[in-house]
Symmetry: C2
Subunit: 318 residues, 2 copies
């Protein structure tokens, strides 16, 4: 493996000048540049990234933290790594199953193995996590109020209100809701939207509400519960497409017709909704992924990338 030193020796030019042409910094006369370029070619020279990292004190690598796998995660990683690659960053993916694991991964910031970190889902408190921001920028798509963490969230309140208005116009009066944990700020926004809607529309029944922390089989569980009801909601709205998908499949197994007997609505506009033709709402996770990266990039570099606009919108299915 040829080094900068080898090509300096071969050409009789100093290491520093060679470095200048390799890194593109500083002035080098045209003829020297050419001889160096030729030598680089001949010796098959490739700069050593580790040496650069040590010298430059940056790895051009961003950590992507998520604590568990869900179908949406893959799609998110796809968008995130793509914009990162375009801007010359690598992304390391970590599934941080435990709180301890999450901290170990955040520690990669302190040992300078990671320049920055994006958090899709987390276990530890935002307060604890934010204490790592002094070692490198941190961003997330979640709704967090913390001065040290950039949060590119989409407010679920207005969009949820719109869904309810829309269903009301279509004549649906009994709606069921399946939420993620109330610890989540957007769950609270949704609950607030329902409350406000209900005061305006006292005839509408929005009281059937389910909450799930561990999301492993929320869809199946809520389906079994729905089947057990005497007075079943006509519409069920879910906090995620894949939960809606599981719900739908379980009902179908029990010969319930979708959407005739129960309208199923997801959230995310993910691949599964498309694959199963589930009406859903685009909460812009794709641009959230991009903006999450853009913030980190802007913190790390002088050059500033512009943020993406986000317009949540309804996606009809069936």
């Amino acid at each position: 493996m040829a080094t900068i030193y080898d090509i300096a020796k071969k050409t009789g030019i100093s290491k520093s000048t060679v470095s200048r042409v390799v890194s593109g910094n500083g002035y080098v006369s045209e003829d020297k540049r050419q001889t160096i370029l030729n030598a680089m070619h001949e010796l098959n020279y490739i700069p050593n990234q580790m040496a650069k990292n040590l010298r430059n004190k940056r790895t051009n690598t961003i950590g992507f933290l998520v604590n568990d796998y869900l179908p949406l995660v893959g799609e998110f990683i796809n968008v995130f790594t793509n914009i990162a690659a375009k801007n010359n960053y690598s992304v390391n993916v970590y599934f941080t199953k435990t709180a301890e694991n999450e901290i170990n991964t955040l520690n990669l910031l302190t040992i300078r193995a990671l320049d920055a970190v994006f958090i899709l889902t987390r276990i530890n408190s935002w307060d604890l996590i934010s204490s790592y921001a002094k070692f490198g920028p941190i961003s997330t798509w979640q709704r967090v109020e913390n001065p040290n963490i950039y949060s590119n969230y989409v407010d679920h309140y207005p969009i949820y209100l719109k869904i309810l208005e829309r269903l009301d116009k279509q004549g649906y009066t009994k709606i069921g809701h399946v939420f993620s944990t109330i610890r989540n700020a957007n769950t609270r926004a949704r609950v607030q939207a329902i409350e406000d809607f209900s005061t305006k529309h006292p005839n509408s029944d929005q009281t059937y509400q389910l909450f799930y922390h561990g999301q492993s089989n929320a869809g199946q569980d809520s389906a079994m519960k729905w089947l057990g009801l005497i007075n079943r909601p006509q519409v069920m709205i879910f906090f995620a497409d894949y939960v809606a998908a599981e719900f739908m499949t379980t009902l179908r197994k029990h010969h319930v017709k979708i959407p005739e007997n129960c309208v199923v609505i997801g959230s995310d506009n993910s691949e599964i909704a498309e694959l199963m033709n589930i009406p859903t709402v685009d909460l812009c996770f794709r641009s959230q992924a991009q903006n999450g990266f853009i913030y980190l990039y802007n913190q790390l570099n002088k050059k500033q990338l512009p943020f993406q606009k986000q317009n949540p919108k309804w996606i009809p299915g069936y």
Copy 2:
């Protein structure tokens, strides 16, 4: 940021001894170890990974290459990064959309930014790719005959034959097949299985066969084709669960009952098959991901990890 030098200065012990306790290599007397440990704690010392990398000529990072996103990719990354993390490796995910991009990513081996590479899907020829094996081990789950690339493939021939026998016993005589590209060795194995089955069972009709390269909407396309047939196959077998899922959803939109009017069978045993209750076959991608990592690990380290056993099996659905 404290360095090894700072703690040497503080304790009056040499850098090398400090290094010994930090890295855990070599003998250090118990009392010195304690004073060093204390100083490390006081100064909040954290070893610099970049310096280690440069010194050790390894990054403990593995590249995960895939040229496009599919639902299975996320699940695969999940398994792969988990076993990697357990063994102290990070994984960088790259979506290499173009041939050029793929080569640029393989070049990360040459600049020592990556210790090894796993290839899920690829664009360039295996011959070209294998030329990078001299810079670091390469493994894949695909079926490749190349001395420089470890291939942890599962032979689709016997399992496909079994599916056909099973369907035959159940009385199905007209089967349709949707394949990936014939460039894929396992597609050829499947075709061979059909051929051999057909000679044994001349009454069975296996002639309806579709091939797709770009897999973007193979499911929808094959569904439209199926709907247009006069003499429709009773069973359709797909090369991937998500293609089966798309096929199924499209037929349902056209009021075809599944499985009454058409039995749909996937391959992979992925999340989507579970979510939609599609009968499928477990081709062990999870252990393939693990074995793919294990090979790379074993090449990179003296310590050898044992490979996982693989038993493809039928997963009933509906």
